[in-house]
Amino acid sequence: MAGKKESNFINMFTSLLVISFVAGISLGSVYNLTKAPIAAAAAKKMEDALRLVLPDFDSIQPIKLKSAFEPDSLLVFQGFQNGQLTGWAVKTWSKKGFGGEVNLIAGFKPDGSIKNISVLDHKETPGLGDKMQASKSDWYRQFLDKNPADFRLKVKKDGGDVDAITAATISSRAFTEAVDRAWQTIENAKKEGGNE
Protein backbone atom coordinates (compact mmCIF):
# COMPACT_ATOMS: atom_id res chain seq x y z
CA MET A 1 0.00 0.00 0.00
CA ALA A 2 1.37 3.25 -1.12
CA GLY A 3 0.59 5.53 1.74
CA LYS A 4 1.64 3.13 4.41
CA LYS A 5 4.00 4.59 6.94
CA GLU A 6 7.33 2.99 7.39
CA SER A 7 8.03 1.25 10.68
CA ASN A 8 10.69 3.54 12.00
CA PHE A 9 10.91 4.62 15.57
CA ILE A 10 9.55 8.11 15.17
CA ASN A 11 6.61 6.99 13.12
CA MET A 12 5.74 4.26 15.49
CA PHE A 13 6.13 6.53 18.43
CA THR A 14 4.06 9.35 17.11
CA SER A 15 1.31 7.28 15.64
CA LEU A 16 0.78 5.40 18.84
CA LEU A 17 0.94 8.59 20.79
CA VAL A 18 -1.62 10.23 18.60
CA ILE A 19 -3.92 7.31 18.82
CA SER A 20 -3.70 7.09 22.56
CA PHE A 21 -4.14 10.80 22.83
CA VAL A 22 -7.32 10.72 20.87
CA ALA A 23 -8.46 7.61 22.67
CA GLY A 24 -7.66 9.25 25.99
CA ILE A 25 -9.62 12.36 25.22
CA SER A 26 -12.60 10.45 23.99
CA LEU A 27 -12.60 8.02 26.84
CA GLY A 28 -12.22 10.75 29.39
CA SER A 29 -15.16 12.52 27.87
CA VAL A 30 -17.32 9.46 27.72
CA TYR A 31 -16.44 8.75 31.29
CA ASN A 32 -17.43 12.23 32.28
CA LEU A 33 -20.66 11.88 30.43
CA THR A 34 -21.53 8.51 31.93
CA LYS A 35 -20.27 9.20 35.42
CA ALA A 36 -23.55 10.63 36.53
CA PRO A 37 -25.77 7.90 35.08
CA ILE A 38 -23.50 5.23 36.50
CA ALA A 39 -23.63 6.71 39.93
CA ALA A 40 -27.35 7.15 39.52
CA ALA A 41 -27.78 3.57 38.44
CA ALA A 42 -25.84 2.35 41.44
CA ALA A 43 -27.81 4.57 43.76
CA LYS A 44 -31.04 3.52 42.17
CA LYS A 45 -30.25 -0.10 42.68
CA MET A 46 -29.81 0.45 46.37
CA GLU A 47 -32.85 2.64 46.65
CA ASP A 48 -34.96 0.20 44.70
CA ALA A 49 -33.94 -2.53 47.01
CA LEU A 50 -34.75 -0.39 50.00
CA ARG A 51 -38.08 0.76 48.59
CA LEU A 52 -38.95 -2.86 48.13
CA VAL A 53 -38.25 -3.97 51.61
CA LEU A 54 -38.98 -0.91 53.68
CA PRO A 55 -42.30 0.67 54.42
CA ASP A 56 -42.68 4.14 52.89
CA PHE A 57 -39.92 6.49 53.79
CA ASP A 58 -38.66 9.83 52.79
CA SER A 59 -35.21 9.65 54.24
CA ILE A 60 -32.71 6.95 54.96
CA GLN A 61 -30.12 6.71 57.64
CA PRO A 62 -27.49 3.97 57.35
CA ILE A 63 -26.09 2.66 60.63
CA LYS A 64 -23.91 -0.25 61.59
CA LEU A 65 -25.20 -2.70 64.14
CA LYS A 66 -23.28 -5.46 65.79
CA SER A 67 -24.33 -8.75 64.30
CA ALA A 68 -26.23 -11.02 66.59
CA PHE A 69 -24.04 -14.05 65.79
CA GLU A 70 -20.58 -12.73 65.01
CA PRO A 71 -18.34 -9.95 66.21
CA ASP A 72 -18.79 -8.23 62.81
CA SER A 73 -21.41 -5.67 62.17
CA LEU A 74 -24.23 -5.49 59.67
CA LEU A 75 -25.23 -2.54 57.58
CA VAL A 76 -28.70 -1.40 58.53
CA PHE A 77 -30.75 1.31 56.90
CA GLN A 78 -33.29 3.05 59.00
CA GLY A 79 -36.19 4.49 57.07
CA PHE A 80 -37.88 7.62 58.30
CA GLN A 81 -41.14 9.15 57.23
CA ASN A 82 -41.50 12.66 58.51
CA GLY A 83 -38.84 11.93 61.06
CA GLN A 84 -40.75 8.90 62.21
CA LEU A 85 -38.92 5.52 62.10
CA THR A 86 -40.82 3.36 59.64
CA GLY A 87 -38.55 0.32 59.56
CA TRP A 88 -35.19 -1.28 59.19
CA ALA A 89 -33.55 -2.76 56.15
CA VAL A 90 -30.71 -5.08 57.04
CA LYS A 91 -28.03 -6.15 54.59
CA THR A 92 -27.46 -9.69 55.72
CA TRP A 93 -25.82 -12.87 54.50
CA SER A 94 -25.35 -16.54 54.99
CA LYS A 95 -22.46 -18.73 53.98
CA LYS A 96 -24.53 -21.90 54.13
CA GLY A 97 -25.81 -21.75 50.58
CA PHE A 98 -25.47 -24.66 48.23
CA GLY A 99 -23.18 -22.77 45.92
CA GLY A 100 -21.72 -20.27 48.33
CA GLU A 101 -22.67 -17.05 49.98
CA VAL A 102 -26.20 -15.73 49.86
CA ASN A 103 -26.61 -11.98 50.28
CA LEU A 104 -29.94 -10.41 50.85
CA ILE A 105 -31.58 -7.41 52.27
CA ALA A 106 -34.38 -7.94 54.74
CA GLY A 107 -36.83 -5.24 55.72
CA PHE A 108 -38.60 -5.16 59.07
CA LYS A 109 -41.47 -3.08 60.30
CA PRO A 110 -41.06 -1.28 63.61
CA ASP A 111 -42.84 -4.15 65.37
CA GLY A 112 -40.22 -6.57 64.15
CA SER A 113 -42.33 -8.33 61.59
CA ILE A 114 -40.93 -8.90 58.14
CA LYS A 115 -41.89 -6.38 55.53
CA ASN A 116 -40.14 -7.84 52.56
CA ILE A 117 -36.93 -9.60 51.53
CA SER A 118 -34.84 -9.03 48.44
CA VAL A 119 -32.03 -11.27 47.35
CA LEU A 120 -28.99 -9.25 46.31
CA ASP A 121 -26.86 -12.04 45.02
CA HIS A 122 -26.42 -15.75 45.38
CA LYS A 123 -24.72 -18.65 43.67
CA GLU A 124 -27.45 -21.24 44.02
CA THR A 125 -28.39 -23.55 41.22
CA PRO A 126 -30.68 -22.07 38.64
CA GLY A 127 -34.02 -23.78 38.84
CA LEU A 128 -33.49 -24.93 42.38
CA GLY A 129 -31.94 -22.66 44.91
CA ASP A 130 -32.64 -19.62 42.82
CA LYS A 131 -36.31 -20.00 43.58
CA MET A 132 -35.52 -17.86 46.59
CA GLN A 133 -35.47 -14.91 44.26
CA ALA A 134 -38.71 -13.03 44.02
CA SER A 135 -38.44 -13.04 40.27
CA LYS A 136 -38.34 -16.82 40.13
CA SER A 137 -40.99 -17.96 42.51
CA ASP A 138 -43.31 -16.90 45.23
CA TRP A 139 -41.59 -18.96 47.82
CA TYR A 140 -40.35 -15.88 49.70
CA ARG A 141 -43.92 -14.78 50.26
CA GLN A 142 -44.32 -17.11 53.22
CA PHE A 143 -42.07 -14.74 55.15
CA LEU A 144 -44.08 -11.61 54.47
CA ASP A 145 -45.71 -10.01 57.45
CA LYS A 146 -44.59 -12.83 59.69
CA ASN A 147 -43.11 -11.87 62.98
CA PRO A 148 -40.12 -14.05 63.71
CA ALA A 149 -41.01 -13.81 67.36
CA ASP A 150 -43.74 -16.36 66.70
CA PHE A 151 -42.70 -17.61 63.27
CA ARG A 152 -39.66 -19.74 63.94
CA LEU A 153 -36.96 -18.94 61.40
CA LYS A 154 -35.86 -22.46 60.70
CA VAL A 155 -36.81 -24.86 57.98
CA LYS A 156 -39.31 -27.47 59.00
CA LYS A 157 -36.75 -30.21 58.82
CA ASP A 158 -34.81 -28.43 61.52
CA GLY A 159 -37.88 -27.85 63.57
CA GLY A 160 -38.89 -24.43 62.33
CA ASP A 161 -41.85 -23.00 60.49
CA VAL A 162 -40.31 -22.38 57.11
CA ASP A 163 -41.36 -24.59 54.22
CA ALA A 164 -38.22 -25.38 52.30
CA ILE A 165 -38.03 -24.99 48.54
CA THR A 166 -38.57 -28.40 47.06
CA ALA A 167 -35.25 -30.20 46.81
CA ALA A 168 -33.41 -27.14 47.92
CA THR A 169 -33.43 -27.38 51.68
CA ILE A 170 -29.90 -26.16 51.81
CA SER A 171 -30.65 -22.96 50.01
CA SER A 172 -33.75 -22.44 52.07
CA ARG A 173 -31.77 -22.98 55.18
CA ALA A 174 -29.24 -20.38 54.09
CA PHE A 175 -31.93 -17.89 53.24
CA THR A 176 -33.65 -18.43 56.52
CA GLU A 177 -30.44 -18.14 58.45
CA ALA A 178 -29.67 -14.82 56.80
CA VAL A 179 -33.09 -13.48 57.69
CA ASP A 180 -32.71 -14.76 61.20
CA ARG A 181 -29.38 -13.01 61.52
CA ALA A 182 -30.95 -9.75 60.45
CA TRP A 183 -33.90 -10.12 62.76
CA GLN A 184 -31.86 -11.04 65.82
CA THR A 185 -29.52 -8.15 65.13
CA ILE A 186 -32.40 -5.72 65.07
CA GLU A 187 -33.93 -7.26 68.16
CA ASN A 188 -30.61 -7.03 70.04
CA ALA A 189 -30.22 -3.45 68.98
CA LYS A 190 -33.75 -2.70 70.10
CA LYS A 191 -33.09 -4.23 73.46
CA GLU A 192 -29.87 -2.37 73.89
CA GLY A 193 -31.54 0.74 72.61
CA GLY A 194 -34.27 0.17 75.16
CA ASN A 195 -31.74 -0.23 77.85
CA GLU A 196 -30.00 2.94 76.88
Binding site: A23, L27, Y31, F98, G99
Partner: protein, 190 residues
Protein backbone atom coordinates in the same frame (compact mmCIF):
# COMPACT_ATOMS: atom_id res chain seq x y z
CA UNK B 1 -6.03 -22.65 54.63
CA UNK B 2 -7.36 -19.72 52.66
CA UNK B 3 -4.81 -20.50 50.01
CA UNK B 4 -5.85 -24.10 49.87
CA UNK B 5 -9.43 -23.07 49.44
CA UNK B 6 -8.49 -20.71 46.64
CA UNK B 7 -6.55 -23.47 44.96
CA UNK B 8 -9.16 -26.20 45.29
CA UNK B 9 -11.77 -23.79 44.16
CA UNK B 10 -9.88 -22.72 41.07
CA UNK B 11 -8.62 -26.13 40.07
CA UNK B 12 -11.64 -28.30 40.74
CA UNK B 13 -14.78 -26.48 41.71
CA UNK B 14 -14.62 -23.39 39.53
CA UNK B 15 -12.16 -24.59 36.99
CA UNK B 16 -11.14 -21.71 34.83
CA UNK B 17 -11.92 -23.53 31.63
CA UNK B 18 -14.71 -25.88 32.56
CA UNK B 19 -16.73 -23.61 34.79
CA UNK B 20 -15.61 -20.06 34.13
CA UNK B 21 -15.19 -20.32 30.38
CA UNK B 22 -11.84 -18.65 30.10
CA UNK B 23 -9.13 -19.73 27.73
CA UNK B 24 -11.36 -22.04 25.75
CA UNK B 25 -9.61 -21.38 22.46
CA UNK B 26 -6.26 -22.86 23.42
CA UNK B 27 -8.09 -25.55 25.32
CA UNK B 28 -9.87 -26.84 22.27
CA UNK B 29 -7.43 -25.73 19.65
CA UNK B 30 -4.16 -26.92 20.96
CA UNK B 31 -2.21 -30.09 20.56
CA UNK B 32 -3.04 -33.51 21.82
CA UNK B 33 0.41 -34.18 23.14
CA UNK B 34 0.65 -34.47 26.85
CA UNK B 35 4.19 -33.12 27.26
CA UNK B 36 3.23 -30.16 25.13
CA UNK B 37 0.21 -29.60 27.30
CA UNK B 38 2.47 -29.68 30.34
CA UNK B 39 4.86 -27.24 28.71
CA UNK B 40 2.03 -24.91 27.85
CA UNK B 41 0.76 -25.04 31.38
CA UNK B 42 4.18 -23.98 32.60
CA UNK B 43 4.26 -21.06 30.22
CA UNK B 44 0.74 -20.02 31.10
CA UNK B 45 1.59 -20.23 34.78
CA UNK B 46 4.37 -17.73 34.34
CA UNK B 47 2.51 -15.38 32.06
CA UNK B 48 -0.64 -15.26 34.16
CA UNK B 49 1.23 -14.76 37.38
CA UNK B 50 3.45 -12.08 35.97
CA UNK B 51 0.51 -10.33 34.41
CA UNK B 52 -1.44 -10.49 37.64
CA UNK B 53 1.35 -8.97 39.65
CA UNK B 54 1.89 -6.14 37.24
CA UNK B 55 -1.75 -5.37 36.69
CA UNK B 56 -2.43 -5.52 40.41
CA UNK B 57 0.32 -3.00 41.04
CA UNK B 58 -0.98 -0.77 38.29
CA UNK B 59 -4.52 -0.98 39.56
CA UNK B 60 -3.66 -0.29 43.16
CA UNK B 61 -0.93 2.25 42.69
CA UNK B 62 -2.01 4.01 39.55
CA UNK B 63 -5.60 3.57 38.57
CA UNK B 64 -7.14 3.65 42.01
CA UNK B 65 -5.30 6.70 43.33
CA UNK B 66 -5.97 8.59 40.16
CA UNK B 67 -9.60 7.57 40.17
CA UNK B 68 -9.46 6.22 36.67
CA UNK B 69 -10.57 2.65 37.33
CA UNK B 70 -12.55 2.78 34.15
CA UNK B 71 -9.29 2.55 32.24
CA UNK B 72 -8.80 -0.93 33.64
CA UNK B 73 -9.63 -2.80 30.49
CA UNK B 74 -7.51 -0.76 28.17
CA UNK B 75 -4.60 -0.46 30.56
CA UNK B 76 -4.55 -4.13 31.38
CA UNK B 77 -4.68 -5.30 27.85
CA UNK B 78 -1.88 -3.00 26.81
CA UNK B 79 0.22 -4.11 29.73
CA UNK B 80 -0.37 -7.75 29.06
CA UNK B 81 0.39 -7.37 25.38
CA UNK B 82 3.59 -5.52 26.20
CA UNK B 83 4.67 -7.99 28.86
CA UNK B 84 4.22 -11.04 26.74
CA UNK B 85 6.08 -9.43 23.94
CA UNK B 86 8.84 -8.35 26.24
CA UNK B 87 9.37 -11.80 27.69
CA UNK B 88 9.56 -13.06 24.19
CA UNK B 89 12.18 -10.55 23.15
CA UNK B 90 14.19 -11.07 26.27
CA UNK B 91 14.25 -14.81 25.77
CA UNK B 92 15.16 -14.49 22.18
CA UNK B 93 17.93 -12.06 22.92
CA UNK B 94 19.28 -13.99 25.86
CA UNK B 95 19.35 -17.41 24.45
CA UNK B 96 18.37 -18.09 20.88
CA UNK B 97 18.69 -21.79 21.54
CA UNK B 98 16.25 -21.71 24.38
CA UNK B 99 13.94 -19.52 22.40
CA UNK B 100 14.07 -21.86 19.45
CA UNK B 101 13.42 -24.85 21.65
CA UNK B 102 10.31 -23.14 22.96
CA UNK B 103 9.23 -22.36 19.45
CA UNK B 104 9.57 -25.94 18.37
CA UNK B 105 8.02 -27.31 21.50
CA UNK B 106 5.09 -25.06 22.22
CA UNK B 107 2.37 -23.84 20.05
CA UNK B 108 1.10 -20.36 20.76
CA UNK B 109 1.08 -19.68 24.42
CA UNK B 110 -0.78 -16.49 24.99
CA UNK B 111 -4.23 -17.19 26.17
CA UNK B 112 -5.65 -13.76 26.09
CA UNK B 113 -8.94 -14.48 27.69
CA UNK B 114 -7.44 -16.33 30.56
CA UNK B 115 -4.69 -13.81 31.25
CA UNK B 116 -6.91 -10.78 31.10
CA UNK B 117 -9.74 -12.60 32.80
CA UNK B 118 -7.65 -13.63 35.77
CA UNK B 119 -6.14 -10.16 36.06
CA UNK B 120 -9.56 -8.57 36.14
CA UNK B 121 -11.03 -11.17 38.48
CA UNK B 122 -8.18 -10.60 40.90
CA UNK B 123 -9.16 -6.96 41.11
CA UNK B 124 -12.89 -7.69 41.20
CA UNK B 125 -12.46 -10.07 44.09
CA UNK B 126 -10.59 -7.42 46.03
CA UNK B 127 -7.67 -9.73 46.63
CA UNK B 128 -4.52 -8.40 48.14
CA UNK B 129 -1.37 -9.06 46.18
CA UNK B 130 -0.48 -12.36 47.71
CA UNK B 131 -4.01 -13.69 47.43
CA UNK B 132 -4.07 -12.45 43.90
CA UNK B 133 -0.90 -14.32 43.10
CA UNK B 134 -2.22 -17.49 44.66
CA UNK B 135 -5.41 -17.04 42.72
CA UNK B 136 -3.44 -16.60 39.51
CA UNK B 137 -1.35 -19.66 40.20
CA UNK B 138 -4.38 -21.71 41.11
CA UNK B 139 -6.13 -20.75 37.92
CA UNK B 140 -3.11 -21.58 35.84
CA UNK B 141 -2.94 -24.93 37.54
CA UNK B 142 -6.60 -25.43 36.80
CA UNK B 143 -5.93 -24.56 33.20
CA UNK B 144 -3.02 -26.97 33.06
CA UNK B 145 -5.02 -29.71 34.73
CA UNK B 146 -7.85 -29.39 32.26
CA UNK B 147 -5.43 -29.14 29.37
CA UNK B 148 -3.51 -32.26 30.30
CA UNK B 149 -6.66 -34.31 30.91
CA UNK B 150 -8.04 -33.10 27.66
CA UNK B 151 -4.87 -33.84 25.74
CA UNK B 152 -5.19 -37.47 26.82
CA UNK B 153 -8.83 -37.74 25.83
CA UNK B 154 -8.14 -36.01 22.57
CA UNK B 155 -5.43 -38.40 21.64
CA UNK B 156 -7.80 -41.25 22.39
CA UNK B 157 -10.50 -39.64 20.28
CA UNK B 158 -8.18 -39.00 17.40
CA UNK B 159 -7.11 -42.59 17.27
CA UNK B 160 -10.67 -43.85 17.58
CA UNK B 161 -11.97 -41.88 14.59
CA UNK B 162 -15.15 -40.05 15.48
CA UNK B 163 -17.97 -39.57 12.98
CA UNK B 164 -17.14 -37.16 10.20
CA UNK B 165 -19.60 -34.48 11.20
CA UNK B 166 -18.38 -34.30 14.74
CA UNK B 167 -14.68 -34.18 13.97
CA UNK B 168 -12.61 -31.38 15.38
CA UNK B 169 -14.26 -28.63 17.36
CA UNK B 170 -17.70 -30.18 17.94
CA UNK B 171 -16.33 -33.32 19.50
CA UNK B 172 -13.91 -31.30 21.56
CA UNK B 173 -16.78 -29.21 22.87
CA UNK B 174 -18.98 -32.18 23.66
CA UNK B 175 -16.11 -33.83 25.46
CA UNK B 176 -15.44 -30.67 27.39
CA UNK B 177 -19.13 -30.62 28.25
CA UNK B 178 -19.03 -34.12 29.67
CA UNK B 179 -15.86 -33.24 31.51
CA UNK B 180 -17.59 -30.21 32.96
CA UNK B 181 -20.48 -32.47 33.94
CA UNK B 182 -18.06 -34.73 35.76
CA UNK B 183 -16.41 -31.78 37.44
CA UNK B 184 -19.77 -30.72 38.87
CA UNK B 185 -19.16 -33.50 41.31
CA UNK B 186 -16.61 -31.29 42.99
CA UNK B 187 -19.18 -28.64 43.81
CA UNK B 188 -19.38 -27.86 47.44
CA UNK B 189 -15.84 -28.97 48.18
CA UNK B 190 -15.06 -25.45 49.28
Amino acid sequence: MEYIIIIISAVFVNNIVLAQFLGICPFIGVSNKIPTALGMSGAVLFVITLATIVTWLVQVYVLNPLGIQFLQTIAFILIIAGLVQMVEIILKKLSPGLYSALGVFLPLITTNCAVLGVAILTIQKDFNLIHGVVFAIANSLGFGFALVLFAGIREHIEIMEVPEGMKGVPIALVTAGILALAFMGFSGLV
